[in-house]
């Protein structure tokens, strides 16, 4: 059994200009865990994801993926090491069809790289995986539609599809249910549980029902610092958390 955490942050900080947004975050996520990050708006949750996924460079500290240092790597290198993420603000290929959005998301992981001597339509594995994913995220009937023409909820589903299609081992989801109503949220959660089965999941989420329902462990981020990490019942009973965060939302 491999006991190295699949993802590890060691004393990570991040400043934008003079303001330090992430103030020394350390976190170890074991393989296969579903880990939720909660915290008030502006706490630095998305920034943390941006650091892990290579969108921004860290100011100091270290990030390890499966024991390997990925701190200074560009996003595509990190993605090739099987870490994939979604965005809080939908980030898709607007002028491509839904189906092509997903195809683009699987090409590298299936090893096709920059191939310009093979016909894309004839790649069976790409076609199968793309069809499977498009069905899975519930957009089967919309495969040919332009991504930019989808409804908000459909675009959120596509965002998730692009993130998971390539078969990443570590998946970061930034507020996947934001802006959804109750039934949409329930459907999204069910979908997320299904497509991330057996994977490591890191998720920023505001809906406490969702968080306490599905997370193995929860970290609470306040002003760029993790003030508590633990299983849901422990977080619920944590005094500092109640004061800093849960109190104001009266959960």
């Amino acid at each position: 059994m491999n006991n190295t955490p699949i993802l590890e942050l060691a004393d990570v900080t991040k400043s934008f200009g003079k303001t330090q947004i992430i103030n020394g975050v350390s976190l170890a996520v074991p393989r296969g865990e579903r880990h939720a990050i909660i915290g008030p708006n502006g706490a630095g949750k998305s920034t943390m994801f941006n650091l892990i996924s290579g969108r921004f460079p860290v100011s100091s500290g270290k990030i390890l993926l499966d024991g390997n240092d990925i701190t200074a790597m560009p996003p595509f290198e990190i993605n090739r090491r099987k870490l994939s993420r979604s965005f809080q603000v939908t980030n898709i290929f607007h002028r491509l069809s839904v189906y092509d959005n997903i195809r683009c998301a699987v090409l590298w992981s299936l090893g096709y790289k920059h191939s310009f001597w093979r016909s894309l339509n004839r790649l069976k594995d790409v076609t199968e995986l793309a069809n499977h994913t498009v069905e899975e995220i519930g957009l089967g009937a919309k495969g040919e539609a332009l991504a930019g023409a989808l409804t908000y909820a459909e675009q959120r589903a596509l965002e998730l599809g692009i993130t998971i299609a390539g078969g990443a081992e570590v998946i970061l989801l930034d507020e996947p249910t934001a802006g959804m109503n109750h039934s949409e949220t329930d459907a999204a959660v069910e979908l997320i549980l299904k497509v991330t089965k057996g994977k490591t999941l890191l998720m920023v989420e505001h809906d406490m029902g969702v968080v306490f329902g599905m997370a193995d462990r929860i970290s609470v981020l306040v002003y760029g610092k993790i003030i508590a990490t633990g299983p849901p019942e422990e977080i619920r009973g944590n005094k500092a958390v109640k004061e800093a965060y849960l109190g104001e939302e009266a959960v």
């Binding site: 980030n91 959005n101 191939s115 310009f116 894309l120 339509n121 539609a145 692009i162």
Partner: protein
């Protein structure tokens, strides 16, 4: 017109399916073969040769503009350097330094394009957008400047050669223009086919993805810089082939090949033809070359007309000719095409009146500013008159005003006939 835009590109693209796609390809192959039998004057043949070269150049350009979202102001660099490669090769063959069949000489042009595409592209593709546009322009200026200094470019006179090297295959020596035409047509077909095939590969699709959202591409494992670099290198091969064919066709390569003017040509062609469909640049190359050659015979003001056409397209039909044509697919499929004809005729007639006025005005002003030394009498459309008097001016202004008035009305007629057709399509869809 916003309704029209809502009919998506994807929908339009799959509109051409099955049999019709085959018909399209067959025409694309057969037409170039038989056209010179119908239009067999040396004037027509040389124009069609020019079109063939322009088609390759424009298709190569659209690998960047339409497919990758890269606006280049310096594509002539690869065209021109390909041309220089070939002209020097021709001279070397003539001098007996090595043997190479002229039929395959454009490949050397492609190689020349590729070599410089790799060296310059490495720098220019680091960024997209304005940065790419500016760097491409800078490289263009740089090469143009270099061409006046370095002897290998032959100075202002350029480098000339003789394409009849006696090394043709099967006794084809490329003396007669018709042989050159078929050489160009053959290479244009091969290039078009390859460029089309390229758009259907994993790289071809990722290039679109990087165009739409380079950031997201990074999070599915792709380095956008690398993707842009590869497509630029590939596109410069075809620009080099086009330049090489031009070198063989004209038997001279000069600074002009590397100029900003030459870089502007494929931009004009591609934009006018339409960047979002494969055949757009082909249409644009044919039309622009036609204007250039035919209008160029009648008036020195042809760049001005080209500018006007370009402006009109940018303002009113940014989807280009191909986009305009493809927009009609759903209506044609529904069998409602006839409904549009009256308003189109209306627009054509009023547009022609307006055009007549605009052309007269342009020619008057052009005459005044460039040929005033020969007096104020001039001849236009076979009519002689004196533009010192006010009469021709009044007529001209009247033509423009009347034409414009009716053209505006024609436009709203077009718009309402479109709306009624679209409404009917929607209506019948919801009944299904």
């Amino acid at each position: 017109m916003s309704d029209i835009k809502a009919i998506s590109i994807a929908e339009v693209d799959k509109g051409m399916s099955g049999i019709r796609r085959w018909v399209f390809w067959i025409i694309a192959v057969v037409a170039p073969l038989i056209l010179p039998l119908i239009f067999d004057s040396s004037y027509a043949i040389s124009m069609m040769s020019q079109m063939g070269i322009a088609i390759i150049f424009a298709l190569s350009y659209n690998m960047l503009l339409g497919n990758s979202g890269l606006l280049s102001f310096g594509h002539a660099v690869y065209f021109g350097l390909g041309g220089y490669f070939v002209i020097h090769a021709l001279n070397a063959i003539d001098a007996g330094k090595f043997y190479f069949p002229v039929t395959f000489l454009p490949l050397l042009g492609g190689l020349g394009g590729l070599i410089f595409g790799i060296s310059f592209g490495y720098v220019s593709t680091k960024r997209a957008g304005v940065t790419f546009a500016m760097i491409s322009m800078g490289i263009g200026e740089l090469m143009f400047a270099a061409s006046s200094v370095l002897p290998i470019f032959g100075g202002e006179a350029g480098v000339s050669s003789n394409r009849v090297t006696g090394t043709g295959l099967f006794g084809i020596n490329y003396g007669p223009p018709i042989q050159i035409y078929y050489l160009i047509a053959g290479w244009a077909m091969v290039s078009a086919l390859l460029i089309y095939a390229l758009s259907l590969t994993p790289l071809g699709r990722m290039v679109n993805a990087v165009r739409d959202n380079p950031e997201r591409a990074e999070f599915v494992g792709y380095n956008p810089q690398r993707v842009r670099f590869i497509i630029l290198a590939l596109s410069s091969i075809f620009a080099g082939i086009a330049g090489g064919l031009a070198a063989i066709n004209y038997e001279i390569v000069s600074q002009e090949y590397l100029s900003a003017n030459q870089s502007a040509m494929p931009l004009l062609m591609t934009y006018i033809g339409g960047t979002m469909h494969f055949f757009g640049p082909v249409l644009g190359a044919i039309l622009v070359t036609f204007l250039q050659v035919v209008v160029g015979v009648y008036t020195k003001a042809w760049p001005l007309y080209m500018g006007i056409v370009f402006m009109i397209m940018v303002l009113f039909a940014p989807q280009g000719l191909a986009g305009l044509i493809m927009q009609h697919q759903p209506i044609l499929r529904a069998g409602l095409g006839a409904r549009l004809i009256p308003s189109y005729l209306y627009a054509m007639v009023s547009g022609l009146i307006m055009l007549l006025g605009i052309i007269s005005l342009v020619e008057f002003i052009y005459h005044l500013s460039t040929e005033i030394h020969s007096g104020t009498e001039m001849t236009l459309f076979g009519i002689s008159f004196d533009i010192a008097s006010s009469f021709p001016w009044v007529i001209t202004i009247l033509l423009i005003a009347v034409g414009f008035f009716f053209f505006r009305r024609a436009c709203s007629a077009i718009s309402s006939s479109w709306n009624s057709a679209l409404a009917e399509i929607k209506g019948s869809e919801s009944h299904e």
